[in-house]
């Protein structure tokens, strides 16, 4: 059984349901002892900005901000797609806990070493 798990997320406020469920699953992986990576690309890179996720509260789930904080507390890694981030002119000095800006090579390395990946 692989000891790594990846969640790829492309949505933010444009689909808060997907954004929330992605972190619920990521927390299931982290809580199960997996080295867990959330890869944020396209609109999801906005979630890496402090404060952005504060208003996302899907019915039936914990607030997204809490889910992301729990993920970081569990040692989860958030990689933020560099070109997606730059395109949106976001602030690299205001990242949430656990987030790092990275290019595609970092994702490819993680997956190539043997990791399942689920996408939202």
């Amino acid at each position: 059984m692989a000891n790594r798990f990846c969640v790829s997320l492309t949505c933010a406020k444009d689909n808060p349901d997907k954004a929330t469920v992605a972190f619920v699953i990521a927390n299931a992986a982290a809580g199960s002892g997996k080295e867990t990576l959330v890869f944020l690309s396209i609109e999801a890179v906005r979630l890496a900005q402090k404060g952005y996720a504060d208003a996302i509260r899907e019915e039936g789930f914990a607030p997204l901000k809490e889910l992301m904080e729990s993920f970081a507390k569990a040692g989860g890694t958030i990689l933020v797609c560099s070109p997606c981030f730059k395109k949106r002119k976001l602030d690299e000095n205001s990242l949430v806990a656990g987030a790092t800006i990275a290019g595609g090579a970092k994702l490819v390395e993680f997956l190539s070493d043997g990791s399942p990946c689920v996408s939202y």
Partner: protein, 78 residues
């Protein structure tokens, strides 16, 4: 449930919490126990009967007893 329930060192009523929220909090709480100690978990989420045994298999923390919604989970050896 018998002996294992009697020996539970910690108890957590997770209520309707489920999926990632349930197992992540369970990990935090079990990490706080010593090796061999038992947690008595009550989890009423409809996914828990499938998720909790799977979580126990993945993490190596044995499910030593209980019947849904109660699960007796032993903290694994370090």
């Amino acid at each position: 449930m018998g002996d294992a329930a009697d020996r539970a060192a910690a108890e957590w009523d997770a209520g309707d919490t489920g999926c990632g929220e349930l197992v992540l909090e369970l990990r935090f709480r079990l990490d706080a126990l010593k090796s061999g100690q038992i947690m008595r978990l009550t989890a009423r989420d409809p996914g828990a009967p499938a998720d909790i045994p799977a979580w126990c298999r993945m993490t190596g923390n044995p499910l030593v007893g209980g019947q849904p919604p109660v699960y007796l989970i032993q903290r694994k050896e370090d």
